[in-house]
């Protein structure tokens, strides 16, 4: 019974503070808050370097989600407060409801800038796999978004879809990627790309005797196929990087790489913070412009 109460969709909320930076000595402290449909992040930059970030689960209220992300981010920062931050940019679907932001910029632009920061200026194509949407971006060498495509009206192929499958199969969401490769033979992708119907299909496959791992493999493959359509439409150009929570799922990432024939750059930091990082970089630029 105890197992039934376990929430398999949950991932660990995290926080980070760079011990080598003293924020009190920083000339410009900028920050970004990304309030997404599933997760919220805050990132603080001191003179353009990551000083602190948080990664939390979103609630039903955008202002509260932003506040939670900020509380967690600033918790271990030796007294850094909102008032000490020179410029704060909000992003994500909840960006217009963050009361303490000076400006809102879309998650599309912020992910582009964030990916440029996290992976370097050679990144031309970005796939962001978020909680309830997927987007593909074409960037210039500064990380500015030149063109983008997004999925519409459906949570299939997104983090929330993966969480639903984790619950159905009672497999921790963070284990899905590795387990999806622990199979004898790669199965066909599940035919449905709708989260609700995929659930029915997964249940049916289990009844047919498929192992959980095989069902996970079929679901990861379906998710990969779905986003590859978006990538093909925007035309992938190297270097290619993936941001968002699903970037942590090797089961999806490796299958995408196989389908498009391009390897994604290896992430050097938490892929979920890309939007908040981008927002913080915008915040720094806007503060500098404001000072001129």
């Amino acid at each position: 019974m105890a197992e039934d109460k376990k929430e398999y969709f949950r991932w660990v909320e995290s926080t980070y503070v760079n011990p080598d930076i003293d924020w009190k000595k920083a000339e410009i402290i900028s920050a970004g808050i990304d309030v997404g449909s599933v997760s919220s992040q805050m990132c603080v930059l001191c003179d353009g370097e990551i000083y602190a970030y948080s990664n939390t689960r979103s609630g039903s209220s955008s202002p509260n989600s932003a506040q939670n992300a900020m509380d967690l981010c600033l918790k271990d920062t030796d007294g850094l407060k909102l008032d000490d931050i020179h410029y704060l940019v909000g992003t994500g679907y909840g960006r217009v409801n963050i009361p303490f932001c000076q400006r809102a910029i879309t998650e599309i632009s912020c992910h582009g800038i964030g990916a440029n920061f996290m992976y370097g200026p050679t990144v031309k194509t970005v796939l962001d796999m978020g909680g309830q949407d997927c987007k593909t971006l074409r960037l210039n060498e500064k990380g500015k978004c030149l063109n983008f495509l997004m999925n519409d009206k459906c949570a299939a192929g997104t983090g929330r879809g993966m969480e639903v499958i984790a619950e159905i199969l009672k497999v921790p969401v963070t284990d899905i990627g590795d387990r999806s490769f622990d199979i004898d033979e790669e199965p066909e992708p599940v035919s449905s790309t709708c989260v609700v119907f995929a659930k029915s299909e997964a249940t049916g496959l289990l009844k047919d005797g498929w192992s959980k791992n095989k069902v996970l493999a079929a679901y990861c493959a379906a998710m990969a196929e779905r986003v590859v359509d978006l990538l093909n439409r925007i035309e992938v150009e190297k270097d290619f990087a993936i941001t968002g929570g699903i970037a942590k799922n090797k089961g999806v990432v490796k299958r995408i790489e196989k389908l498009i024939g391009v390897e994604a750059l290896e992430p050097k930091m938490d892929t979920q913070i890309a939007g908040a990082v981008g927002a913080a970089i915008y915040g720094r630029a806007l503060y500098k412009k404001q000072k001129k």
Binding site: Y93, V96, R103, A104, I105, T106, E107, I108, S109, I113, K142, G143, K144, C145, L146, N147, F148, M150, D152, K153, I281, Y282, A285, L286, K289
Partner: protein, 376 residues
């Protein structure tokens, strides 16, 4: 200055009912802008474009499967089935796409009216003999109208109809010209109200309202940042909520300066050039108007037309809107997107249903506007 057009559009059914009561005239609904309105006007009839209300209806699914019929036709038919158009005495469809045709045929069968007419229009308005063909079809249409109303439509009547419509289209273009300015004196939302109200109200009354606007417009002071100059490309645009979101709710300023839609410039771009054979004159106008994708083959004439508008109105970004399941425009949009990419013009394709997800659309529009921004 443009409030009156918006009010009439908002209360279009009350307007039509009041017009009927006031004049004792007949009202005919038309689905597509290839229905010739000049002969209807000549017959003393009020032509009213049948448009949706951005409201769902559970009555449509019985006739048109949601995943087949385009959202505009489903919405328009839904309003009919819900009784919004109960004042119509007749309906006319100028043949274009199968979806509007289907809406017409369902209407004809299930919402009987005194007069219904499906008018054959050349599949391609590039075919040899198209003008003659359409003029002959117009003669049949005119005869059917005369039999219905019980009187002859004379050349003098046709001249009046032609003159009213020419005046209407010319004044709309004159007002649209003020959108070419660096700070356009007419917003896209106002332009939509203006042009769309011209498809549902008495054109002489519409002409009078426009005359008053034209007298005041040169002195108008705009207190808004025009921002990015946007063009809308698509089929039938009746979505005021969307236009208002783009121009007034985004974090970055923007103005819709022109469109290529059949509720905008495509409908109003050219006039009937008078000649002795009035029906041929009207045929020439409809054959040579900027085409809709259904009529635009084998050569795509829309592309140079769009490029001409982009230059004339100094367009900086484009929104391609597509009604869900509207295949003719979907096919054209792929080509237009390619052209825009070659021109390095930021563009965004959005799929419209009966109701739109305004928050999601706002994110996409803002992201497109941000591509024109230079912060970093």
């Amino acid at each position: 200055m443009f409030e009156k057009f918006g009010e009439i559009l908002e209360n279009r059914h009350e307007y039509a009912r009041e017009w009927k009561k006031r004049t004792g005239g007949k009202v005919v609904g038309f689905f597509c802008s290839y229905a010739p309105e000049e002969p209807l006007q000549a017959a003393g009839i009020l032509p009213v474009r049948i448009i949706g209300g951005h409201k769902s209806s559970d009555k449509v699914g019985k006739f048109i499967a949601p995943n087949i019929g385009c959202s505009f036709c489903r919405d328009a038919l839904g309003r009919g089935l819900e009784g919004d158009y109960d004042y119509l005495d007749g309906i006319v469809q100028g043949q274009t796409c199968l979806h509007t045709g289907e809406a017409f045929w369902v209407w004809e069968k299930h919402l009987p009216v005194e007069f219904s007419y499906f008018l054959a229009v050349p599949h391609s308005t590039q075919n040899v003999g198209r003008e003659k063909y359409l003029a002959v079809e117009y003669a049949k249409f005119k005869k059917a109208l005369e039999e219905w109303i019980g009187k002859e439509i004379t050349n003098e009547d046709l001249d009046r109809g032609i003159d009213t419509y020419n005046t209407n289209r010319q004044r709309i273009r004159q007002i649209f010209d003020y959108r070419k300015q660096d700070n356009p004196l007419v917003t896209g939302t106002e332009a939509l109200d203006l042009a769309l109200s011209g498809q549902i109200m008495d054109r002489n009354e519409h002409n009078q309202l426009m005359k008053e606007v034209l007298e005041k417009l040169p002195d108008r002071q705009m207190d808004r940042d025009p921002g990015t100059r946007i063009m809308i490309i698509g089929s039938v645009n009746t979505d005021r909520e969307f236009m208002d979101m783009v121009e007034n709710q985004c974090d970055l300023p923007a103005t819709i300066v022109i469109d290529d839609t059949c509720t905008g410039i495509r409908y109003n771009f050219n006039d009937v050039n008078p000649q002795d054979d009035r029906l041929m004159a009207i045929s020439l106008r409809y054959n040579h108007r900027p085409p809709c994708p259904n009529k635009d083959w084998p050569r795509r004439r829309r592309i140079p037309f769009i490029k001409h508008l982009m230059k004339a109105y100094n367009v900086e970004a484009v929104i391609l809107f597509n009604h869900k399941f509207c295949q003719p425009h979907q096919l054209d949009n792929a080509v237009i997107e390619r052209e825009l990419k070659a021109m390095d013009i930021p563009n965004l394709t959005l799929e419209f249903d009966i109701r739109i997800p305004i928050g999601q659309f706002r994110t996409r529009v803002e992201a497109m506007l941000e591509t024109t921004m230079d912060i970093i």
